[in-house]
Amino acid sequence: MTTSERAELAVTLFTTMARARALEDALAVHIRDHGFAGYWHPGKGQEAAAAGASAALRTDDYLFYQGRGATWPLAKGMGLAPIIGDLLGRSTGSTGGKGAGVPHWADPALGIMGEGASLGSVYHIAAGAALSAKLRGTDQVALADFGDGTSARGTFHETLLQASAWRLPLVYFCENNGISVSTRFEDVSPTKTIAERAAAYGVPGEVVDGHDALAVYDAVGNAVERARAGQGPSLIEATVTRVGGHWEGDAQQYRPADFLASYRDPLDVLRSRVDGAVADRILEEARDEVAAALRDAEAAPYPDPSVILKDVFA
């Protein structure tokens, strides 16, 4: 990658993250003022992980995200209108407003493959997409995103074992924010990292600073390249910080004092790689775009109730 390509990438990442952050801030206000159509799990502070990882994927690569924040669909190319449309349960959402609350954004044309809200259920779905690519002879890659808490599910093990034995083009991407609702990672994990468990599956494992979007991009880029070359899965663990509560409105009485100790705002980290005036303009545009999209969504209609019985079967 040339220096100018790298600079361009930084701008792209910063733009994604600025929009994600503006959306977080606007939603917090919206939820406070208007109530909300459902559960919201804020992603503030974790934008760099999703943005960097997603940028390392092609449009036709398969993304299976875990639903904290909205950086993932934004980064993979979904517009604000379908994202906010779903959040507010409007027919303009990517699911037609069905998948509001706990969001189920999807757009197969963008490789945004949706969410499984029983956590840990997308490891094997992602592996199945990777297997599909392998069987169809394409060089597509599938990425399975998950949290530190979700690494405990048995599905983590079954899939990585099988995917490694089959050398599937799969990337395990962990956002380790050190907590699962109120439960600290160190209280449920006998190892310091999740990456070190990769050896048990004969695959490479790497820890990367998830506050640094470019570092994440590089680490995931290597894993994607390896997968595309037919060398099988990798595990990338991004160390991130959950700035807010588990859900919007979480009183967080459990929150330990040192919880933000290693936090650096990922927008600040990336800003140093972007021209200052450009960054300011991006931030401002992002706020405007989000405000406009939110207004549009509020004005958009709810879906017709008949959608409840639609699409149970094809």
Partner: protein, 333 residues
């Protein structure tokens, strides 16, 4: 003395009533302990607040995201002298721990010739909760009706939430305890007496009546009772049966009521098709065929995944109006 006639009561929420049951049983019996995600902070729905302060982290155990482990470990602990209580965040996760619940907890005693007792309680909240989505709004209580070896409980009010949970914990069998999330913050009088249980297997007549037997449980009971008020003005006098327990099912209470009224409908939060209402309707027509004046009617959730949108969610479950309208039809039939 029964719960209904208890001397001293306190008005608390359905959720807090579960917490009170846990605290009392843990105080009474040192073999009772709790496992689940974030139970030390009071659980996802907060009912267990204060438990960790009183009983410590050994007996109020935070687990990882390991539903299969929790239930399997409960089986192992139960067969070796403990009385584990597992808190699953959502009843939907019973499908993650399906082998552990239905093939192990439910069968271990029988398949090993009766040599073990498995006094484990699994708490699994059912139904919608304001947009939790298709994978977190399920009603799974028909499973133990079909798969043998597990008792199953669905309380409809705070007093029963406490009394049934206490009975579940003391029962020598595995009990699946399904609180209805829609009732979490509903408050009501709850007996303070720590020795008061609501026995498993006994239905309650929530409202005596003469026109139609309405068999219901959980969060639909208050809706049916509300419908009954409206209908009373039209001389449609509902007899409302709150099942409380699905396994064992209080067949006598159901059949006696239907023999009296000659008309029956079942209302539940679970999907309509092949839900608990199917078994109950089949049972009623088997035993009350000649007493029935009209077919047994059923109301349940839509036969579709529950959308995450709160706007759509509300439309998926039987409403007071649905009950009123169906009862009117049935009274006329």
């Amino acid at each position: 003395m029964s719960v209904e006639t208890a001397a001293e009561t306190k008005v608390i929420s359905y959720d807090a009533a579960q917490g009170a049951a846990l605290a009392e049983e843990m105080r009474r019996d040192p073999t009772v302990f709790l496992m689940g995600q974030d139970v030390a902070m009071g659980g996802f729905f907060g009912g267990g607040r204060g438990l960790v302060e009183e009983f410590g982290l050994e007996r109020v155990r935070n687990t990882g995201i390991t539903e299969a482990f929790m239930v399997g470990a409960a089986a192992g602990a139960a067969m070796t002298g403990m009385r584990p209580v597992v808190q699953l965040g959502f009843a939907d996760f019973s499908l993650i721990a399906g082998d552990e619940i239905f093939q192990k907890l439910g069968k271990w005693r029988h398949m090993h010739g009766g040599q073990f007792e498995l006094p484990a309680t699994i708490i699994m909240p059912i139904g919608p909760s304001g947009g939790a989505g298709p994978e977190h709004s399920g009603s799974m209580e028909m499973l133990p009706m079909h798969f043998p070896g597990l008792k199953a409980v669905v309380p409809s009010n705070p007093a029963d939430a406490k009394g049934l949970l206490k009975a579940a914990i003391r029962d020598p069998n595995p009990v699946l305890y399904y609180p209805s999330k829609q009732l979490n913050f509903k408050r009501g009088p709850v007996p303070a007496d720590p020795d008061l249980l609501v026995p498993l297997g006994k239905a309650a007549i929530a409202r005596p009546g003469t026109t139609i037997s309405v068999i219901s449980y959980g969060c639909m009971v208050p809706r049916v009772l509300e419908a009954a008020e409206t209908l009373a003005a039209e001389s449609i006098d509902l007899e409302v049966i709150d099942l409380r327990t699905l396994v064992p099912l209080d067949r006598e209470a159901i059949l006696a009521s239907v023999r009296k009224t000659g008309r029956a409908m079942i209302v539940h939060e679970a999907p309509r098709t092949a839900g608990p209402g199917a078994e109950i309707a089949a049972l009623i027509q088997e035993h009350c065929f000649y007493a029935l004046e009209a077919p047994v009617a059923r109301l349940g959730a839509v036969d579709a995944p529950i959308p995450a949108s709160r706007f759509l969610e509300d439309l998926c479950f039987p409403s007071v109006t649905d009950v009123v309208e169906l009862a009117r039809q049935l009274a006329r039939a």
